[in-house]
């Protein structure tokens, strides 16, 4: 038992860094599901897209900040693509997201030129901001924690502006919002773009931190993100806008800590996705299994 705790304790700092970066993906999943009511799976492909764009640009001599912003822009475009497939071709948003993810696989390989591209020897965003970041997990925790808080604050502000109210309006009532002058196409595209831009940022940050981009790095991100959102909402609730926005971040930190604990307890890492999948399934299905909910759309 002491062994388990000490293994877990040693994993905590790196887990916090990991959880904080992945909390951006959880945020990016919450926005379509909760704000727009247009469930979207694009993150799974947009996360490696952001990584690929950032690594390819930095490796070709671009400034790390430019490369990171380009990753956000690429994510935004990918999210808009999903929205337009959904709205213009009348494809269900989940299928539209799967199509985007599938197509992005090829795009990401094209951008990287190979399945895995390293980034050693180039100045990354972290080197540029402060040389201490790469050398200290504690500084990384502060850095990514601040970033998550800034993102929460920005989203909180954005969703209370007239544009943000339009975004929430199409999510709350897609029949009403156009009758009040809100363009369904423009706002859905903008909202999914915003969410995917955050996923792209997460990919760029992760790639520069670990020093490489891999086309497979998005696999399973979506279900982890869903699990994070579910856990987060169980902790913070959804009674206010701020709680709804903070939930994915809180949830991601708790989820990755729980994962590390499970690994410290001896869970085979390759079994983690199965356990996470079962957890999400059970959480979504529980109200139906015990008969408390007859109809509804789960998450």
């Amino acid at each position: 038992m002491v062994d388990v705790l000490s293994v877990f304790w040693n994993l905590v700092p790196v887990t916090l860094v990991q959880g904080l970066i992945y909390s951006l993906i959880a945020l990016a999943i919450m926005i379509p599901f909760r704000v727009l009511s247009v469930p979207d799976l694009s993150s799974e492909g947009v996360f490696p897209l952001g990584a690929a764009v950032a690594v390819a640009l930095v490796a070709n001599g671009a400034h790390a900040l430019v490369a990171t912003l380009a990753a956000v822009a690429a994510g935004f475009l990918a999210g808009m693509t999903t929205a337009l497939i959904h709205l213009k071709f009348k494809v269900h948003s989940l299928l539209a997201g799967i199509l985007t993810v599938t197509m992005l696989w090829s795009v990401n390989l094209r951008i990287l030129g190979k399945p895995n591209a390293p980034l050693f020897g180039f100045e990354t965003l972290y080197d540029w901001i402060h040389p201490e970041i790469m050398g200290s997990l504690a500084v990384q925790i502060v850095f990514f924690g601040t970033l998550a808080l800034v993102l929460i604050a920005l989203l909180w502000w954005l969703l209370q502006t007239d544009v943000g109210l339009g975004l929430r309006g199409i999510g709350a009532n897609p029949h009403l919002a156009p009758a009040l002058g809100v363009s369904l196409v423009l706002y859905t595209a903008g909202g999914l773009g915003l969410a995917s831009g955050i996923s792209g940022l997460a990919g760029a940050l992760m790639a520069q931190l670990q020093g490489y981009a891999d086309v497979g790095m998005g696999v399973g991100m979506l279900v982890n993100g869903l699990a994070s959102v579910i856990i987060g909402e169980a902790i913070t609730g959804r009674s206010t806008l701020l709680r709804q926005i903070a939930a994915p971040v809180v949830g991601a930190i708790v989820y990755y800590l729980l994962s590390s604990l499970a690994l410290a307890l001896g869970l085979n890492p390759s079994d983690l996705k199965l356990v996470t999948g079962l957890f999400v399934l059970l959480t979504l299905g529980w109200p139906y299994l015990v008969g408390r909910k007859v109809i509804g759309s789960g998450l």
Binding site: T161, V163, G169, A172, N173, L176, P178, A179
Partner: protein, 268 residues
């Protein structure tokens, strides 16, 4: 759009034609070369049995449905193919289903703020501030629903009648050139329906709105509006002006234009 186009009526429907399920055994002509003209300040009440084409007409005016042929003109401007969110600048709409007219996950004041930008550019200013919060509460207060002190309550927590009054205020918060009321009291109990109709009259009169209202309620058809239109099979079957409408009684209406379903409704 300016109102300077002289001579153009507020609303002109010109030979609107809508066919559902065209080319299938279920083919049905919903609007059969329907034409209608409405002057500024008119409050037109539309009656007719189910399937007469009333809601189809409203959907074509609001842009939710595009006609197979024909034209919709608002103050002389052709809006036949204008997107819903664009013509929303000129048209306010209240739906039959109280669930549809408000955004349930937004608070009362957020609903009003959302509606307050109808037809305006939306920017990155905070949607609510102390000024418009007070204004929204002041607008709600006269309706006696007690909502003005509960502005942060989610619209989803309101009763059907409260929601319809809120929806009415949202549709008229920025004065529309035309207010569309699609059986907006049909889903309410009689007492609540009466309350919502009083709110409707108050809003239409105070803001001098032009309105087009569909109803199944013959009493309402007599009591409200300055023109009455009876529709049948996608056409206007009968039209009464203000003078003729004033002499009308419920019995007249039922005998002349009513059908079985309307009679049942009235007796219920």
């Amino acid at each position: 759009m300016s109102s300077s186009e002289t001579g153009a009526p507020l609303l002109r429907l010109d030979r609107l034609r809508v066919t559902f399920h065209a080319g299938t055994p279920n083919q049905r002509v919903a609007l059969d070369d329907l034409s209608l003209s409405m002057a500024e300040g008119d409050f037109v009440v539309v009656i007719g049995s189910n399937g007469a084409g009333k809601s189809t007409m409203l959907n074509v005016i609001s842009g939710a449905l595009l006609p197979d042929s024909g034209r919709v003109e608002l103050k002389g401007k052709d809006i036949t193919n204008l997107a819903v969110h664009k013509r929303a600048a000129y048209i306010g709409r209240v739906f039959q289903d109280p669930m549809l007219g408000t955004a349930p996950a937004l608070s009362i004041e957020e609903n009003l703020a959302l509606a307050g930008r109808r037809g305006l550019r939306r920017g990155f200013h905070l949607a609510l501030n102390s000024t418009n919060r007070k204004r929204f509460a002041d607008i709600l207060a006269p309706f006696g629903l007690g909502l003005d002190t509960r502005m942060r309550v989610l619209a989803g927590k309101l009763s059907g009648g409260q929601r319809q009054v809120l929806a009415l205020l949202m549709a008229s918060l920025r004065k529309p050139q035309l207010l569309l009321l699609d059986e907006h009291t049909a889903a309410l109990d009689p007492a609540t329906a009466e309350l919502v109709m009083q709110a409707t009259r108050r809003i239409v009169e105070e803001d001098r709105l032009s309105a087009l209202m569909i109803t199944h309620n013959m009493q309402q058809a007599i009591q409200y509006g300055n023109r009455l239109i009876a529709m049948n099979a996608g056409r206007i079957k009968l039209e009464l002006d203000a003078q003729a409408k004033q002499k009308l009684t419920v019995e007249d209406l039922i005998q002349r234009f009513g059908d079985a379903s309307d009679r049942q409704l009235l007796q219920a």
